[in-house]
């Protein structure tokens, strides 16, 4: 069985369907980009992967475990904003990745604290933030904050990493260097990644696959009558050539 399995997912908010018949599988270590127009449910799908929401129908399994009901350590996440804790120093933000789950209070003491701080410093050196370890995130640039957010998420050793437009608020130059950084981190950890992005080019550049969310059925009188689903599942390896394949009408990935 595949590492991530989403089976016949439907999600509605009240009477309004957002997602319909979404089925997808992903292997361990795959980088899946998710693109689509605004309001086509790609962020909803990410929230479902994150277990921040539970689908009205269908289920999502990661590593064969039962479907999660709430976010947990199996899933790491980086949002466009608010992904780090503003009241903690840069180092403490990384330490939090171990401290939060360590005991009932979320504080580490003694040897465990020293070890976590040393580990955090290793992480910070790796992501190039060692020189600002004692500063608060507000003093960091947007790119540095997102690097910290990614380092923090990976420090908790999740099974899959979910990125919700992580570079959407960054300027183009910073964005390019963040791409390199993300690819390096991925090569090191072999992490399974799902990334929602507005930027097609970014999706193809980083992803092994690019999923396109769109509404296959459209009611001109009531545009909200139908939900979105995965309409294309591109193979984006080797620059997207020559392994493209269309999804079957049911929305299942014909290649898997």
């Amino acid at each position: 069985m595949s590492f991530v399995v989403a089976e016949d997912i439907h999600q509605s908010y009240g009477p309004r369907p957002i997602l319909e018949r979404v089925s997808i599988t992903a292997e361990e270590g795959e980088f899946v980009s998710i693109v689509g127009a605004s309001g086509c449910g790609k962020s909803t799908f990410l929230r479902l992967l994150l277990a921040q929401e539970v689908p009205t129908r269908g289920e999502i399994r990661v590593a064969g475990e039962p479907p999660a009901k709430e976010p947990g350590q199996a899933r790491g996440v980086v949002f466009q904003r608010y992904s780090v804790f503003p009241h903690m120093t840069v180092r403490d933000n990384v330490v939090a990745a171990t401290a939060f789950a360590a005991n009932a209070t979320g504080w580490l003491f003694g040897g465990a604290k020293r070890k976590a701080r040393a580990d955090a410093d290793t992480v910070l050196a790796r992501i190039g933030l060692a020189h600002v370890a004692d500063q608060y995130p507000a003093a960091l640039s947007g790119g540095m904050q997102q690097r910290l957010a990614i380092g923090q998420a990976l420090s908790a050793k999740p099974r899959i990493l979910l990125l919700d437009e992580p570079f959407g608020a960054l300027d183009p130059g910073t964005r390019l260097s963040m791409h390199d950084f993300l690819m390096d981190m991925r090569a090191e950890t072999g992490m399974t990644v799902f990334m929602v992005t507005h930027d097609l080019e970014e999706g193809f550049k980083l992803g092994d696959r690019v999923l396109v969310f769109d509404k296959p059925r459209w009611d001109p009188i009531e545009p909200e009558a139908y939900g979105a689903t995965i309409t294309y599942d591109f193979d984006a390896r080797d620059g997207g050539i020559p392994f493209q394949n269309l999804t079957s009408p049911e929305g299942t990935n014909a290649a898997s």
């Binding site: 994150l50 921040q52 709430e70 976010p71 947990g72 350590q73 899933r75 790491g76 996440v77 949002f79 904003r81 608010y82 992904s83 780090v84 804790f85 503003p86 009241h87 903690m88 939090a96 990745a97 401290a99 939060f100 789950a101 009932a104 209070t105 979320g106 504080w107 608060y136 995130p137 507000a138 003093a139 960091l140 904050q145 923090q152 998420a153 908790a156 999740p158």
Partner: protein, 271 residues
């Protein structure tokens, strides 16, 4: 140039700051002069010099009966009531604010109740407090607590709700339990808000303190003011009013500075 774009320089800003204060003093001095020209023994607007003299007497001369300088013992008694009252209210506000803000079950149970409770006029139930708790310290502190706690709970629970959902989800993906999210994400983020809320509620707290002391007490600044009112001792009343104003201002300033010191990350842009 448009008025909205005209800004005073630093020395001018300082001067402008002083103008209203000086204007009030000058207006008082002139009014006092006019009244005393008609009647040198006028009690309503005593001369500024007379007030300073009274103030000096108040802060140095011990009371003949008790041997204490009443001005300082009044200050001490009132401050003690105020600080205990505000402290208790802040603690209750913080705990319930966090619980209501974080836990949907607590919100469903208490949010409506607290918003109704905050509409009860505290002074209207002061008689009940006197009947239940007697005329001692408890009823006065209780009035302050009852007066400002609902506001604190509502304000803080709202601040907790306003913490970005992203941060709550992030904490969960790092393995934090509800307790850990409360202690390490929500609590540190609302502490600076608590200071702000306490600063805002200091005004009402003083109001309730003076009211309770005026009605039934045997010490305290509110008691003293309402006692000497019988003798039209404007000089004493004004001295106390200025002193209370100064104390309130200093408390507000101290809380502001404490907030800046203790939470250097708060209120800065970039996140």
């Amino acid at each position: 140039m448009r008025l909205i774009n005209l800004k005073p320089g630093r020395p001018l800003a300082l001067f402008l700051l002083l103008i209203p204060f000086l204007a009030v003093l000058a207006a008082y001095g002139i009014a006092s002069d006019i009244r005393r020209a008609e009647n040198p023994k006028d009690k309503l607007l005593p001369a500024p010099a007379a007030i300073v003299e009274t103030a000096q007497r108040l802060v140095t001369q011990p009371d003949r009966r008790s041997g204490k300088v009443l001005f300082w013992s009044d200050t001490l008694v009132s401050l003690q009531r105020l600080i205990i009252g505000v402290g208790i209210a802040a603690l209750i506000g913080l705990v319930f604010g966090l619980l209501i803000g974080l836990l949907p079950y607590m919100r469903a149970t208490f949010a409506g109740f607290v918003s109704v409770l905050s509409m009860v006029p505290p002074l209207a139930i002061l008689p009940i407090l006197f009947i239940v708790f007697g005329l001692g310290e408890v009823s006065k502190i209780a009035l302050i607590v009852i007066g400002i706690t609902p506001f604190l709970i509502r304000d803080l629970s709202q601040r907790v709700v306003e913490i970005p959902q992203e941060m709550m989800v992030k904490a969960q993906t790092l393995g934090a339990s509800s307790l850990v999210i409360g202690l390490r994400v929500a609590l540190p983020q609302v502490l600076p808000r608590l200071l702000q809320a306490v600063r805002l509620s200091l005004g009402p707290a003083w109001l309730f303190l003076i009211a309770a002391e005026a009605i039934a007490s045997d010490a305290g600044m509110g008691y003293r003011i309402f006692l000497v009112r019988r003798y039209l001792a404007m000089d004493v009343i004004l001295t106390y009013v200025v002193w209370i104003t100064l104390l309130a201002f200093l408390m507000d300033y101290a809380l502001k500075k404490l907030g800046e010191r203790a939470f250097p990350w708060f209120g800065r842009d970039g996140l």
